[in-house]
Amino acid sequence: MLSFLIRRLGQSLLVMLAVALLAFSMFRYVGDPVTSMLSQNASVEEREQLRDSLGLSEPLYVQFSTFVVQAAQGDFGISYRNQRPVSELIAERMPATLELVAVAFVISLLVGVPMGVYSALKPHSWLSHVFQTLSLIGISLPTFVTGILLILTFSVTLNWLPSFGRGEVVNIGWWSTGLFTASGLKSLILPGIMLGLFQVTLIMRLVRAEMMEVLRTDYIRFARARGLSNRAVNFGHALKNTLMPVITIIGLQLGAMIAFAIITETVFQWPGMGFLFIQAVSFVDIPVMSAYLLLVSLIFVVINMIVDMMYFMLDPRLCADRGTANSH
C-alpha cells in the first residue's frame, strides 16, 4: 500500500506541474499584463520598470521555476485589478465556496442515496417511477435554469428566502462562516439546492443501477438462501457492495462541484471563489485566474487520492497481503 501511495503521489505531482505550466503560460499568451496594469499614457521607462519588478524580463525557465516555487508556498502574486495578494483574495473567498459545496454535497447524498436504494429495491412501485421521472427532469434541466426558477418561486413570489449573497457571516479566525446565523443559513438553502440538484439525480441513478446489478449477483441470492433477513441482505450486504463504485464517482463529483460552483455563485451573487474567478476573467486578471486553476486541480488531485485510499479501507481484496500486485 505504501508503494502505491508513493506512486500515486508522484503522479499527482506530475499532474500539478503540468497544470502549473498551463497556468504559467496564461501570463505569456493572454495579453500583456503591463498594459492592463498601467494607464494608457504611461511612459516606456515606467513600463520597463514595472516589467523588471514583475520579473517579466527574465528567461522563461527562470520565470517558470520562480512561479512554481512561489505557487508551492501559496504565493500567486498580486491581483492586477485589486492590487492585493491573490492568496489573500482566495483565502477570503474560499470559506463561502466550501460551505456552499458542503451543503450541496450533503443534500445530494442525503437525498440521492436513499432515493436510489428505494427505487432499486422496489423498481415497480409508483414512487420509483416518480423518482425516475424527477431525475430525468433534474438531469436535463441546465443548472442556471433551476437556479432562476428557484429564485422566482422562493424569493420573488413567496419571499421566503434571499435571492443573493451570504447573509450575515461570523468570523472564526480567518474563516468566515454563514452557518451560525439565521440569515446565513437561509441564504445557503437555495444555492445549495441548485448546486446539489444535478448531483442528486446523478447519484440516485448511479446507486439505483449499481444496486440492481448487485441484487442480481450470486452472493446476494446465496445470502437470501441462508435465510438472512431482508434488512441484512439489502442494507448489510447489497448496499456496501453498491457503494464501492459509487464512491469514486461521488468523489470526482465533489471536485466538479467545487470547480463548477461558478455558475451557482454567479446566479446567486455568492461571494465565493467561482464568482471571484468570473470577475477575474472579465478583467483579464491573470494571477487570480491561474491561482484558481491551480487550486481547483489541487483539490481534484487530493480528492482522487482520498478516494483511492478509501478503496483500500473498504475493499479487503486490495489490502496489505497483495500490496501492489492488483492496483490499477
Binding site: D218, R221, A225, L228, N241
Partner: protein
C-alpha cells in the same frame, strides 16, 4: 393452511409442481407436473440436460423463485407442513435453518467484502440464540468439520484468500452450520477442478450423514450420481421421466431417454469408434411437442407417444413415465424389454427394406414391359 398431509412421512414431498413464466408470447411452462419425495437423511440425485428444470425445482423448494416465474400449481410439503404458500417471512426462517442451499459457483456465492467468519456468524446468529462468542466458536467448529486447516486464523480472512475448492468448503459450512434437515446442492462441483470435485462430493456426503441432513443433489454428472445418491430422478424438458434407486436407474434404466443418457457416458478401458449420443436437442420451452416431450428424439416412439402425455407409473422399485411400459409387467427386466424392442424394430426395418426392393423391381419390370 396446516393441512397435515404427511401420509408417507416423507421429509420433502413435491406434488404435481408446475412453474410458469408468463411472457409476451404466452405462458411458458418450465416445470410441468413434477412429483418427488425425499426421506429424512436420503440423498436424491436430480439429473437432466441444461434447461430441463433441475435448478428451478430446487429454487422453488427454497421459495426463491424470481419474478416473473411463479408456482402455477401443485404443492410442496416439508416436514409435514405445506411450504409453497407460506408468507415470505415464515419461509425466510425456514431457509438456512431447515433447508440449506449450496450454489454452483463458489467464486461468486460469497460476498467479497465480508470475511468468511462474519458471513458464518451472521448466518448462525440469524437462526439461533447464540452469543457472538458462541457463534464464533461454532463457526470455527464448522470450518474444522469441512476440512479447512488453521480455522482460527482462516475465519478472519476474506473469500479471495481462499481457493475455489476451499471456498466451496466454506459454502458447505454455511449451508450446514445450523443443521438443516434438507440441503439443496445445485451443481456443487461443476465449477471446480476435476481433482477437487471428488473431495467436495465426499465431504458433502459424509457431513450430511453426520448431520442427518437429506440432500437433493442437482447435477449433470452421472459419475457423481452413481457414487453418491440413494435414488435418482431424471428430468427432461420440465418433466420427470424416471425415478428410482440409483443402481436400477444407472444400470437398468426404464425410460428410453435415461438409457440414452447412461449410454452416452464413455467407459474407461473400452475402445469405441464413436461416442454414443442422443440425436437432436431438448425442445425449447415454447416448442414442447404434444404427447411425450421426448417423442421426436425417441427411437421407439409410436403414434400414441405423439398424442398423449404418459403418466408416471410404478415400475420395478421406481417409477417411469413412458408408454412402452403400458400393459407390461412393471417388474419385467427393462434390458430384456429394450432388447425385444430393438429386435422388433430391426425386423420392421428389414421388412420395409424388403418392401422397397419389391417395389423397385416391380417398377423396373413395368418400365420394360
Amino acid at each position: 393452511m396446516n393441512n397435515n398431509q404427511s401420509n408417507s412421512g416423507a421429509l420433502l414431498e413435491v406434488k404435481g409442481l408446475r412453474i410458469e413464466f408468463p411472457t409476451r408470447r404466452g405462458t411458458l411452462r418450465a416445470i410441468d407436473g413434477i412429483s418427488l419425495s425425499l426421506e429424512a437423511g436420503e440423498i436424491l440425485g436430480v439429473v437432466g440436460e441444461s434447461g430441463a428444470g433441475k435448478s428451478l425445482t430446487g429454487t422453488a423448494i427454497t421459495g426463491l423463485l424470481e419474478r416473473p416465474g411463479r408456482i402455477a400449481g401443485g404443492e410442496i410439503h416439508f416436514n409435514g407442513q405445506r411450504i409453497d404458500n407460506l408468507p415470505s417471512e415464515a419461509m425466510r426462517k425456514l431457509r438456512g435453518k431447515q433447508i440449506g442451499s449450496i450454489f454452483q459457483d463458489p467464486l461468486t456465492s460469497l460476498n467479497p467484502l465480508f470475511s468468511v467468519g462474519r458471513q458464518l456468524i451472521e448466518t448462525i446468529r440469524t437462526h439461533t440464540d447464540l452469543t457472538p462468542r458462541q457463534a464464533r466458536a461454532r463457526a470455527i467448529e464448522m470450518l474444522t468439520q469441512v476440512g479447512i486447516p488453521a480455522p482460527e486464523q482462516r475465519i478472519d480472512q476474506y473469500p479471495h484468500q481462499f481457493s475455489g475448492g476451499m471456498r466451496q468448503r466454506v459454502v458447505i459450512a454455511l449451508a450446514l452450520c445450523v443443521n438443516p434437515k434438507l440441503v439443496i446442492a445445485d451443481e456443487p462441483t461443476t465449477a471446480l477442478d476435476v481433482s477437487v470435485q471428488a473431495q467436495i462430493i465426499d465431504l458433502l456426503k459424509t457431513l450430511c450423514r453426520e448431520h442427518g441432513s437429506a440432500v437433493m443433489l442437482v447435477t449433470h454428472d452421472m459419475g457423481v450420481i452413481a457414487e453418491t445418491c440413494d435414488r435418482v430422478a431424471v428430468m427432461y424438458a420440465g418433466r420427470l421421466v424416471e425415478v428410482g434407486p440409483v443402481q436400477e436407474v444407472v444400470k437398468h434404466a426404464r425410460h428410453p431417454y435415461t438409457r440414452g443418457l447412461m449410454g452416452s457416458i464413455p467407459k474407461l478401458g473400452e475402445e469405441v469408434e464413436h461416442l454414443v449420443q442422443i440425436d437432436g436437442a431438448m425442445p425449447r420451452l415454447s416448442h414442447i411437442p404434444k404427447g411425450c416431450a421426448f417423442n421426436p428424439r425417441c427411437p421407439y416412439a409410436t403414434a400414441r407417444c405423439r398424442e398423449d402425455k404418459p403418466e408416471f407409473a410404478q415400475a420395478g422399485r421406481g417409477e417411469v413415465a413412458c408408454w412402452l411400459w403400458e400393459g407390461v409387467d412393471p417388474d419385467a427386466d427393462p434390458d430384456q424389454l429394450f432388447e425385444e424392442l430393438a429386435l422388433a424394430q430391426r425386423a420392421r426395418h428389414q421388412a420395409e427394406a424388403g418392401n422397397l426392393a419389391v417395389k423397385k423391381s416391380v417398377q423396373a419390370c413395368g418400365l420394360e414391359v
